[in-house]
């Protein structure tokens, strides 16, 4: 248990607020990768609002923590988060995907302040994170680098090149996180290209693996803090057990919601689902929280 009941409830509300706003952005954008955004919503809430040393005040400081969102198609959820943190202008959110907007489908650090890398060509982010973590080591900085990977992204050979190096160089100021939502564009990961035994693959590459419910904010934060407190030479990979589209019934665990647009009716239904989901999650926090 990492959080007080009050903190947990506050973060649940934040995650729900982000999911709601992301649905709206999806409408303004006339389409987005909402499924994979929702599977990442809880870990991103945990990172941006609790675990990371990252804020409107320090997001350009050399000592800030870094988050590389390697699954760059999840860009649609970062826009409302960065707006909520006050780093980007909330008034820009309705321009998402429109001509001349800083926001496109994929994360773009050159156009959007607060992002650390332009990603979306998959399989790059873990190596970028490795470079950032090595820079911290050489410059004697104590910031942490977090890399969020998609599970389908782990089909890319370059992920395993990076994994091998992270273990070889004993890079423990980098925390690898995989959003294991079990879906990719063409279908379910195990149908398109089998990943299992997934955790064992990471172990074989020299990682200690923490497997955690990716939709339990308290458990996510406990795992992240455990990874930060790692005093061994073995790097840590956190595998989040998640669902694509988590929070909305018609999207949940449906790979066809990798990318989608919402019409008025669907948006209303999504909001109803998200409201009910929020109540459920808060009730859980109230019950299980200390």
């Amino acid at each position: 248990m990492s959080l007080t009941k009050e903190q947990w409830v506050t973060l649940e509300k934040k995650a729900s607020q982000i999911r709601h706003k992301t649905a709206e952005v999806c409408v303004w954008a006339k389409g987005a990768h909402i499924g994979g955004a929702y599977s990442s919503a809880d870990v991103l809430t945990a990172l941006y609002y609790n675990v990371m040393n990252f804020s409107k005040e320090n997001y350009l400081d050399e000592d800030r923590d870094r988050l590389i969102i390697s699954k760059g198609h999840a860009g649609v959820i970062t826009a409302p988060i960065l707006a909520d943190l006050g780093i980007v202008d909330e008034a820009l959110l309705p321009t998402y995907n429109h001509t001349g907007s800083p926001f496109g489908v994929h994360l773009d650090k050159r156009k959007v302040p607060g992002l650390e890398a332009s990603t979306g060509s998959l399989g790059h982010g873990l190596s970028i994170g490795l470079g950032l973590a090595m820079a911290a080591r050489l410059k004697k900085k104590d910031y942490f680098t977090y890399v969020l990977l998609g599970d389908g992204e782990c089909d890319e050979g370059s992920i395993w090149e990076a994994a091998m190096s992270i273990a070889h160089f004993k890079v423990t100021n980098l925390i690898t996180i995989v959003d294991r939502n079990k879906c990719m564009i063409d279908g379910r990961t195990e149908d398109v290209m089998r990943l299992e035994p997934f955790a064992d693959k990471w172990r074989a590459f020299g990682f200690n693996v923490i497997e955690v419910d990716g939709h339990n904010i308290d458990a996510i934060i406990t795992a992240l803090n455990q990874a930060k407190a790692n005093t061994t030479d073995t790097p840590i990979c956190i595998i989040l057990d998640t669902f694509k589209g988590e929070g909305v019934g018609f999207m949940k665990d449906n790979y066809k919601w990798h990318y989608g647009t919402l019409n008025e009716e669907q948006l209303a239904e999504a909001f109803r689902d998200l409201d009910a989901y929020e109540a459920e999650r808060i009730a859980r926090a109230e019950k299980e929280g200390k």
């Binding site: 190596s127 490795l130 470079g131 950032l132 973590a133 370059s158 190096s165």
Partner: protein
């Protein structure tokens, strides 16, 4: 010939020039680091590694990881030099170079050795005939192909001084000296006039600069005054020097150890076409084919990018 240019019999290793310049940079700048992909010895990154092992990362045979990691190191405030063979540096990790280094304008310096056909007997799979063509379309990227030992050292140091992604392409083995001094005014993006001449111009890069100087010397005896331009920076290209050659001489030949598509010859042709054209123009290099295996000098002769080949083509275009 200009006072700083020479036709020398001394040939020196340009990878060693790079390794030494890199080590000097590391001596003076804490933020300089280097990466290689199991070729640290071949590209002479080992010279720096002996002195500063903590700042050199050999990532094994994993070029994609090397280039993205270099981007991350640059984002963390360091100045990484990532070195491997040209054929791998440009092709194996092109997506990483595109998205992580060029698009993000990361301050990464890439060194491709064993360029062109210089890995001669290693075979056509290890010749880099497409590296510059593959990279030339990348915005933000500077491409330098130095002519000799001295120029490789100067290019390496200038790469450190210049913010942004830079690709330096050198050769395996040795290249003949074409300069007798370091003080000839090397500047990224500024071609070097190696020999004045009013009849015809050869614009060359890399090993072909030496060959062009020999051709100029031989043509002088035949009454032909050949201008030799060392276009060490392929991108951004020195347009002014090309336009001068268009106006002041009767034609232009480009000479390079690369496929004739996409590199020096194409870059010069673009400038010529946009500025009124010339009557005589030819691109020398490897015609659009995969190169033959053999001794380097034989390969250069086969593709007419040695002194004799350059001379022959100049005379043909002059109608002599």
């Amino acid at each position: 010939m200009k006072e700083y240019a020479v036709i020398s019999n001394e040939a020196r290793s340009t990878t060693e020039a790079f390794g030494k310049a890199l080590t000097e940079l590391a001596d003076n700048h804490q933020e300089v680091c280097a990466l290689s992909a199991d070729l640290a010895g071949s590209v002479k990154v080992t010279l720096m590694q002996k002195k500063y092992p903590e700042r050199v990362f050999d990532v094994g045979i994993a070029e994609q990881n090397m280039m993205s990691m270099a981007a991350g190191l640059a984002m963390g405030g360091l100045v990484p030099f990532a070195a491997t063979f040209s054929v791998f540096a440009s092709l194996r990790d092109l997506d990483q170079v595109h998205t992580d280094i060029c698009y993000q304008n990361a301050n990464v310096k890439m060194l491709g050795s064993h360029g062109g056909t210089s890995f001669s007997q290693a075979g056509s799979t290890h010749h880099a005939l497409e590296d510059i063509a593959a990279l030339r379309g990348m915005a933000n990227l500077t491409i330098i192909c130095p002519a000799d030992y001295v120029e490789t050292q100067l290019a390496t140091k200038a790469a450190y001084e210049t913010y942004g992604p830079i690709y330096i392409r050198i050769n395996r083995g040795t290249d003949y000296d074409v300069y007798n001094t370091e003080n000839y005014g090397f500047k990224i993006g500024k071609a070097v006039r190696m020999a004045d001449g009013n009849d015809f111009t050869v614009i060359a890069c890399g090993s072909m600069v030496h060959e062009a100087l020999i051709a100029a010397d031989s043509l002088k005896a035949k009454g032909v005054s050949l201008r030799v331009v060392n276009m060490h920076t392929i991108k951004p290209i020195d347009k002014d020097e090309i336009i001068k050659a268009m106006k002041e001489t009767k034609g232009i030949i480009t000479a390079e150890d690369h496929n004739v598509i996409g590199a020096l010859g194409s870059a010069v042709a673009e400038v010529i076409a946009e500025n009124g054209g010339v009557k005589a123009f030819k691109r020398l290099g490897v015609p659009d084919e995969f190169s033959i295996i053999g001794a380097r000098k034989d390969i250069l002769a086969h593709y007419e990018i040695d002194a004799a080949g350059i001379e022959k083509n100049v005379l043909a275009l002059l109608g002599k």
